[in-house]
Amino acid sequence: MDKARFMGRMAATVSHDLCNVLATIQQASGLLGDYLALARRESLKSVGLRPKFKYNDKFEEIICQVLTQVNRGQDMCDQLSRLAHSSDEGQDGADLALAAELLVKLSGRVAKKHKVKFLVMPAPMRCKAKATLVEVLTAMETALTGIAWECREQGEIVLAPGATDTGVHMDILCQGLSQPDVQSLVQALESGESGACTAGVIQGGVRLAFEKAGLQA
């Protein structure tokens, strides 16, 4: 866990610096917009004596593009920061629905690469696992990456958290998964398991079962 905390601290530092970079880009492009607006006002006041800046519309379009990318970066920064703090948080258990949302946001590149979409279903109730957030994320990421490859270019992969009386689980489902695919995935997951969960075969996907938080031993 010390290694996870070290990585978390490093990621938090990078995330903080990245926020500052984005903030500077955002304000610099905003300042450019301010001066364009000022030039427009002065042009109007001059009753046509001073011509409108020729490239005004193009500049505005570019500023808009920059701000869109800043917003995108801000979202990524937020996810990176949440990941960075995951090694400290969730020591007393991890909410599966929140973990799934975080993982899906961090896995945009995997989805793009395999041309699939990830969809997190709402949990029917609070599904808190006894495992730490890092353990839950690790197990889910391994399963999700495997399924994304098997289901490449086959549409949607659904993550559905759920609970029983004795445990909580995350079902990862894809219509394109065949039963042999699921079997081999589960075998691969079992061989690499850290002990935080068990993997099982269900109709159309894999179930990762975790011990429920708050249950007496």
Partner: protein, 124 residues
């Protein structure tokens, strides 16, 4: 030009200078300090209405600067700037008497509106 005096304290030079220029274009009198010590010194020379204070700087940390401002300049309102994932620090700052906190990157309109609220509080 509004008669609001704003002090920005942040070690990110380009960010804080650009922010100051944008506030200035909106009619707010603005000064910049690049660390907590310099900010406190500038406050002793001329007290602003509002301080916009970054929480993570070399030298005195944001919360330490905030504590000193509360002791020396109780009327001055402080808006803290934090990064993503540091909302807990922002909440801690509010417990120590900050007016509010905002997360970077931030919109100039949101900041201006927050400054307006803080100035109103500082002057009542």
């Amino acid at each position: 030009m509004m008669d609001w005096n704003i002090l920005l304290v942040d070690d990110e030079v380009e960010f804080v200078q650009t922010l100051c220029e944008r506030l200035d274009l909106r009619g707010l009198a603005c000064r910049v300090a690049l660390d907590g010590e310099a900010g406190l010194k500038m406050m002793d020379e001329s007290e602003p209405d509002v301080v916009v204070l970054d929480m993570f700087m070399p030298g005195l940390k944001g919360l330490e600067v905030l504590t000193l401002i509360r002791e020396r300049h109780p009327k001055v309102q402080v808006i803290l700037l934090t990064g993503q994932g540091a909302t807990k620090d922002g909440m801690d700052g509010m417990k120590l008497g900050a007016f509010d906190y905002m997360i970077k990157p931030l919109s100039i309109d949101d900041l201006t509106a927050k400054i307006a609220e803080a100035v109103k509080t500082a002057r009542t």
